[in-house]
């Protein structure tokens, strides 16, 4: 996802909680959940995600054939542009090495989901830590704290300034090619997003009445941060995490397209499958369309749910 969309979303999300300074986190969520239940976007998104997760879990058991065995390799001739399309035995046809595409799609869902989740978690955890430190320093750290905060933010801005794809590529270059690299590369790109978001939300909360009240009552700073500010700043982070899952899946596909994907292409993953299929796009377009549609629908599911959550949290935005 582009820098601008990132910044835009961060700003918007960070401002969300501003409107609900007085309400506690719990009631805000209850209210939002109520709104979510009636949102069509949320329902569609949730259904897509549920279907995807089910496929990811049970897919490997349902797959009619081995996803990595080149069972029909004598029947496909990539050097002559001869491919095998859908047929009774192979519902989606064969890939360029004579493997069953339907089985690869089913099994690939798990890998794809795994990449998305792990990458997002990496970004979330790292961003969270940086965000808390920065946010806490800014709200309660006095002058030194603000200096610390501004140094951290300068660094985060630098990371945001780099095109995410290049950042991911640089990381892949240092670490060598592996699935772990893909997850880390995609995850690191999310770090500044989460960090800025959490800090922004905490800043808003830091100025809220109840924090000032707690401070004047002499509650310890660490306690204010952990039990007051943080819980109330969490909602935008959760929303962003949902949205980030979509981004992570798309970016992992882009890394595969740039040749930095999983080094063992025998293990199916939608991004790698799409990248491999593009060479044969004129001959066997469906080979690319299946994984592409898989990626698009899944990303759509997460985006829909994320957007719906955001709108539910922000009554102004509902539509």
């Amino acid at each position: 996802m582009s820098v601008a969309t990132k910044t835009d979303k961060i700003q918007r999300l960070a401002e969300l909680t501003a409107g609900s300074e007085t309400s506690t986190g719990a009631s805000l969520w209850r209210e939002a959940l109520g709104r979510l239940k009636t949102s069509k976007m949320a329902i569609i998104g949730a259904v897509i995600i549920a279907a995807f997760v089910v496929v990811a879990i049970v897919g490997p058991f349902l797959a009619p054939h081995s996803p990595s065995a080149q069972i029909w390799r004598g029947e496909v001739f990539p050097n002559k542009g001869e491919f095998v399309g859908a047929r009774g035995e192979n519902w989606f046809g064969l890939d360029h090495l004579g493997r069953d595409l339907f089985s690869r799609m089913l099994v690939g869902a798990r890998q794809t989901l795994l990449v998305g989740i792990v990458a997002t978690l990496i970004g979330l955890v790292a961003g969270f830590v940086i965000g808390i430190v920065s946010g806490a320093a800014a709200t309660l750290g006095g002058e030194t704290g603000q200096r610390v905060d501004s140094v951290i933010m300068r660094f985060i801005d630098m990371m945001l300034a780099l095109p995410s794809l290049l950042l991911a590529v640089s990381i892949a270059a240092v670490m060598g090619q592996s699935l772990t690299t893909v997850m880390i590369a995609v995850g690191v790109v999310q770090v500044p997003v989460f960090a800025r978001l959490l800090r922004g939300a905490m800043l808003v909360q830091g100025g809220a009445d109840y924090v000032l009240a707690a401070q004047s009552l002499g509650v310890r700073k660490r306690r204010i941060v952990l039990s007051q500010i943080l819980p109330n700043s969490l909602s935008p982070v959760i929303v962003q995490a949902t949205l980030s899952l979509a981004t992570a899946i798309i970016e992992a596909a882009a890394l595969s397209y740039l040749g930095l994907g999983n080094p063992d292409p025998a293990i199916p993953e939608w991004g790698v499958m799409l990248a491999q299929a593009q060479r044969f796009f004129s001959y066997a377009p469906m080979m690319g369309v299946y994984p592409a549609v898989g990626i698009i629908i899944t990303a759509l599911g997460f985006t829909l749910l994320g957007e719906a959550m955001r709108e539910a949290l922000d009554p102004k935005l509902k539509g």
Binding site: S2, V3, T5, T7, L165, L258, A299, G319
Partner: protein, 334 residues
């Protein structure tokens, strides 16, 4: 205003310095030198060692960093490993192409996106709204390179409406003035060259526009929805002001503010979207050059590009702030 500009520019220096240190630490971790990039399977161990020594790549990283800094201050970004030419020259050669592409993509996104977003908000819940919202959601979720591939296959290869690659046809002997192919044609009166360049730009621009278009539609829609519920709009309406005036002066104008910000920021980010788009269309811009630099591990180019992008990003941010304070005097820039 001037103080703001100067201060922002001064802030650029520590940012770039910090960035360059990080880049160097990164480079230090990377194996290899130009020998294997140039000679491929013909490179021997001895060749690699000899060339690295000749270029000083065997020296400690701080020595290399110092040399790099000295070079940068002399305005020398280094030399591309792939082409053996100064990185700066390579950028100058390709930058206009990418700017042309990004501009066209942005124009498309704005021209289509703002009216569509506005319409969607006015006719909320109608089919335009549903179409625009779901279209923009899909636009964000579709991998750019796949979109490019599909568009190219259908419109260029199968139907032949557009050229499938490159910046210009062979044999269009256009005079080079500014490096901006479309502009050059207009300046020199070689309109066929302009048209040819434009024709080549359309498909990549459509591909590149997909994400900004989606973002602009959604932002405009959300922004209009927000503004039309504001008190001053209601007041204006209840005063009995003409509808067109209310919509034009009150709703649209105020709703566009956040959109303007995002257009500026999106333009900067297009440069990185160009990496994928240009590579799909073999378009000889910065993005494609960077992609081949990634493949060929052309570090001087990558370092130069990253520094360059960071600079552009900061400058665009500055421009946006300035533009903002002009559009809306209430906004105080600090």
């Amino acid at each position: 205003m001037l103080r703001l500009v100067v201060r922002r520019l001064l802030q650029l220096i520590p940012t770039l310095l910090g960035l360059s240190v990080l880049l160097f630490l990164w480079l230090d971790r990377l194996p290899g030198g130009p020998a294997s990039a140039i000679l491929g399977e013909k490179a021997t161990d001895a060749d690699v060692a000899r060339i690295n020594r000749a270029l000083g790549l065997d020296q400690p990283v701080y020595v290399q960093y110092w040399r790099f800094l000295k070079r940068i201050f002399q305005g020398d970004l280094g030399t591309s490993v792939q082409t053996g030419q100064p990185v700066w020259d390579e950028f100058v050669l390709r930058f206009p192409a990418t700017v042309e592409l990004s501009l066209l993509a942005m124009i498309m996104a704005v021209v289509v996106g703002i009216p569509l977003g506005y319409l969607a908000a006015r006719k909320r819940g109608g089919w335009v709204d549903i179409g625009a919202v779901s279209g923009s959601l899909v636009g964000i979720c579709i991998p750019v390179f796949f979109l490019g591939l599909v568009i190219k296959e259908i419109l260029a290869v199968k139907l032949g409406f557009f050229p499938s690659y490159g910046r210009m046809d062979t044999g269009i002997n256009a005079t080079d003035v500014t490096g901006f192919a479309v502009l050059d044609g207009i300046l020199t009166g070689e309109f066929d060259a302009s048209w040819d360049a434009l024709h080549h730009l359309i498909l990549p621009a459509v591909t590149l526009a997909s994400i900004p278009l989606a973002v602009i539609v959604r932002m405009t829609r959300a922004s209009v929805l927000e503004v039309q519920d504001e008190d001053y709009v209601r007041t204006a309406e209840s005063k009995g002001l003409k509808r067109s005036i209310v919509r034009g002066r009150h709703v649209l104008r105020n709703a566009l503010l956040p959109v303007v910000t995002s257009v500026g920021l999106l333009t900067g980010s297009l440069l990185s979207g160009a990496v994928l788009t240009e590579s799909v269309f073999s378009f000889n811009g910065i993005g494609n050059f960077v992609k081949t630099s990634i493949d060929g591990r052309d570090y001087p180019v990558l370092v130069g590009f990253i520094m360059f992008i960071a600079m552009v990003y900061v400058l665009i941010n500055l421009l946006v702030d300035v533009a903002y304070s002009i559009i809306d005097p209430r906004v105080r820039v600090h």
